[in-house]
């Protein structure tokens, strides 16, 4: 009988995690972080305008989908660049940025100010709308 409850509990937990992750997927949070905090591997990727720095790992399946969405968006948008950083062996970078999952995408200005970040695979239209005020 305990096994039945354990099974029902596991199903409920899976349902809750699934709903939570689906809700959070692609959610944009606005930021205004001073540029001094940026780790060197990220700083090296900055381009003129706004750079979307996508943090990925070798073990991240959705990172590939995020890459497709972001590189396509950057190709079609003036002043927007996409760069992917593999953080599989750069834990200090993710720790200092406070990033817990991949893909996480940071939108950074040329002087290294973070304007927003997106967890999971970004949704193209809402991301573009959020970036508009920061684009040249």
């Amino acid at each position: 009988m305990t096994g039945v409850w354990a099974l029902l509990g596991a199903l409920a937990v899976a349902g809750a995690i699934g709903v939570l992750l689906k809700v959070r997927e692609g959610r944009i949070s606005s930021r205004s972080t001073p540029s001094a905090d940026l780790p060197a591997p990220v700083r090296d990727l900055l381009a003129p305008g706004v750079t979307l720095v996508q943090l990925s790992t070798t073990f991240c399946a959705p990172c590939r989908h995020a890459k497709v969405v972001l590189s396509d968006l950057a190709d079609r948008t003036d002043g927007l660049t996409h760069a992917e950083l593999d953080v599989t062996n750069l834990p200090e970078v993710t720790t200092s940025l406070g990033v817990m999952r991949t893909p996480t995408t940071l939108a950074l200005t040329a002087d290294g100010r973070e304007v927003l970040r997106v967890g999971g695979v970004p949704k193209r239209d809402s991301l573009l709308a959020a970036l508009r005020p920061h684009l040249p």
Binding site: A6, A10, F59, N89, M100, T102
Partner: protein
Amino acid sequence: MPKDSPVDPRGPRFSAWMTTVVLAVVLLTGWWRLLAAQTVLFAMCAFISLKLNPWGHVYRYAIQPRLTPTTEREEAAPLRFAQGVGFVFALIGTLGYATGLTTLGMVATGFALVAALLNAALGLCLGCEMYLVLRRYVPALARPQ
């Protein structure tokens, strides 16, 4: 660790459904030998090759020919990592059941079932998403390739 070539993503989803069923049967019956077999399966896929997964063969011979072909491919590294996470939970579960620590066995099996079900139903790889967090606490994950 030998490398696997990218796979049809529907194969691992099918395999995750089968794993979910196996783990549900273990929870319902407490049949730890079945969990031990699943543990061995996880280990073979994670540490040797995904090709050793019997569900993958079932998918290729019985299901894939009935589906529309897809050019989509999924990298093997995240899949193998996920199998490794499954292995750890299944191993703890097996040891729990086999030594009489049934609650430990159930909790560990429950975690593995949650991960397998999320993968099967939503294509979510919990272990992969959590890699950064896992790595912080498990230094052995550093530089795996």
